[in-house]
Symmetry: C3
Subunit: 342 residues, 3 copies
Amino acid sequence: VSASLQALAEQFGCELRGDSARVVGAVATLASAGPDAVSFFANPKFKSQLADTRAGAVILRPEDADVCPTACLMHANPYATYARVAALLHPAPRAVAGVHPSAVVAASARIAPTAQVGALAVVDDEAVVGERCIIGVGTVVGAGVVIGDDATLAANVSIGARARIGARCIIHSGVVIGADGFGFAPDGGEWVKVPQIGSVVIGNDVEIGANTTIDRGTIEDTVIEDGVKLDNLIQIAHNVRIGAHTVMAAMCGVAGSARIGQRCVLAGGAAIINHVNVCDDVLVLVRSLVTKSISKPGTYSGSLPAEEVGVWRRNAARFKQLDRFAERLRCLERGKPAQDGD
Amino acid sequence: VSASLQALAEQFGCELRGDSARVVGAVATLASAGPDAVSFFANPKFKSQLADTRAGAVILRPEDADVCPTACLMHANPYATYARVAALLHPAPRAVAGVHPSAVVAASARIAPTAQVGALAVVDDEAVVGERCIIGVGTVVGAGVVIGDDATLAANVSIGARARIGARCIIHSGVVIGADGFGFAPDGGEWVKVPQIGSVVIGNDVEIGANTTIDRGTIEDTVIEDGVKLDNLIQIAHNVRIGAHTVMAAMCGVAGSARIGQRCVLAGGAAIINHVNVCDDVLVLVRSLVTKSISKPGTYSGSLPAEEVGVWRRNAARFKQLDRFAERLRCLERGKPAQDGD
Amino acid sequence: VSASLQALAEQFGCELRGDSARVVGAVATLASAGPDAVSFFANPKFKSQLADTRAGAVILRPEDADVCPTACLMHANPYATYARVAALLHPAPRAVAGVHPSAVVAASARIAPTAQVGALAVVDDEAVVGERCIIGVGTVVGAGVVIGDDATLAANVSIGARARIGARCIIHSGVVIGADGFGFAPDGGEWVKVPQIGSVVIGNDVEIGANTTIDRGTIEDTVIEDGVKLDNLIQIAHNVRIGAHTVMAAMCGVAGSARIGQRCVLAGGAAIINHVNVCDDVLVLVRSLVTKSISKPGTYSGSLPAEEVGVWRRNAARFKQLDRFAERLRCLERGKPAQDGD
């Protein structure tokens, strides 16, 4: 898809500087863009690349336009504007209406006439697939599942347990929604399975990354609210509720019955233990482990960075002596140095 | 499925208080249960919910019956009893005997006549599927695999390498059993693949969560004993042995040739490094890393909880000074304060 | 497959001690090998097993031959030699040329005549599958994907986004290559999806473990160079580049736009945050978190080992007091003990 700078400026509310008739047909990085591509500048780290760019136009903040040697599409939020321009120039695949002859669709399933069901996909009894949905090849839509309009499920996705998926969701390959939660009652040294009879409810505009798992609830539902974005290889346990517009980077884990507020950000590898509540607007830094409820918006951290191994080991060995250090400090403060200090 | 309280009490060995003829048809939480549902009470945290419940009956310990405003099914282990009642009222799907016409079953495979093979499943050469098994849609049972009676494999499971799966196992979507272990021999700056020729042997009554991976052994087999329960996104490397009735929450990792005893519990994100032995009855707390063999039953921990970022960073910065702290303490104890303290 | 010791010695450049006509047909461990099997000895830990072995022959270093009671195949690198011998005696499955009738292959796809496409696999428009490739059952090769000669994709793999896979790659079940990277621009409390239009380029001789995910690039490509070996459940984010012959054990994570050099080793659970550069020949120890670029080859560590819970908790509690400890130490060094020490 191509568009003139004039058209882009109008559609996305930018102020244009430069040749309004220039046509661009792709996005590219500042360093690699040629005159038929549009790029963006938002991070000062790349200022030298901006100065040298040969892009057809650059989306940037008005105050950065001076540095730009080429046409500018100026906007207060250049990154979001870039995202919208990129979606226009590189549109996502659209549903090609119809069910592939190799797909297996139950007679009681309802597939919207504009939806696409790919090769070797399965849509089970009484499942409902909305308008313009794409059900990827090899994907399994279990019995009673309901999928809203304009949702896209990639290849080899598994949706079970009467899950409900909202409109415009994007679900990547390998995702498993609605597997049993992990519930077992101890009984005489063995474990009795606790039936998992809840489901999973996913709001609108949710995106779920490859191989992420979202378990069905024990009795009630696991709930992912509107606009949540989950990266790859994330675990969402049974009965969890994740508030609207919260995002999680890859490999996060949320344990059973935890509740996370709206607009939270969990960096990669962060985890929330079971039954913890995290309020709205919390940022959990990379690989941090939240073990207590958080009731105050803010930033939380809990990981130690790697060091050169000799340095690390010397300090890690002292970690094991910390309680003794405390004792020795106390003795010193009382004027009686410990005899067996080290 | 419905049952009278009288019938439940008899079947599960409970003492009944209240209307023995009352019929219940579902389980529910204390807070949401109506008169046709049964709930349970085991955790004192929910005592106020017990006092207010409108459930048809509550399963609880005899000593908690006083607080309960409704009928009681009294049992020394209310949670396990609840699990059994829930399984009666909400039975798991049963195999509908037969092979879906779209499934691909090798001529040399043996499928028990009572087993169900779902749409687009594959059962390869000489595989054996036991009585009343459910092989989910899109699931692949590799050549020579043997699956015991009453096992359930959900959709899009991959079983390879002549793995043996015991009776009554439950394997969730996306699980991969029998992929090659990770073995490479260094040779001149490159890596030579070490053929992985062992298999995977899984006992009876094992449950394996979504997207968990269990690799085949290098030469001998990777072994999961009876009654083991694994949650989602767990990695079990080649040659590992996991003892009976051990459970692991999501995202645990067990590295090559580690051995874990019976009745162990690994909380979420715990990991065991390679060649380590963990004895029976060990509890490893959330996200702890076991780097040495454990020969004494008990509880082991190794994770630090997240804190407000300012607090965390101040202490984490000091962690890097710990070895120097030790030196300074020693100097102080000798009466000679270090000159360059901080 | 069987071979005489003479033939093995010649093919793999070993010095032979013992009965050159002896025929072996399998590999086995030192402890379990019988006279028709060959084993290897490289780790001094197993010296007593070497002394007791009944193997038909043992591959070992010349200096270890004295201890061996049976025939020896002597080589300076016994483990790599063992790997090659094992591959000869236990050959990997070879492609059985042809497309299974249940597979769905687009008219515009090009499948080499010697390639095997398994049951219920999908090869989409304009995809190219090289000579002697194996495309496993249920595996999806997306539109425009190019797969080099002699590559093996196991069951239920998902390859999308015009990815390119090199020759001789081995990709295990559940792997997802080419899902969208995780890119969202904040805009008024919501998130705008940043289209992911790059692809994934994977070199020759790469192996990728079960359920690992490799995302497509945002604009340019995610790149995995030749000879890289990735274990299970690893996350490789968009725009990452991994240098040749680097290996990662299970559950590693590499965040967006990180670059890792050649011949690096990441132990299990290690992670690299976004935009970090790691130079060649770096070893990152188990579960260490690399938060800054590394420009010096060497070993880096960042994890604390689990301890008995009482010991751990005492020290972990002191971790939270570290900044205060520093203050108290400083006071002591100045001769003025803090009043509120502990």
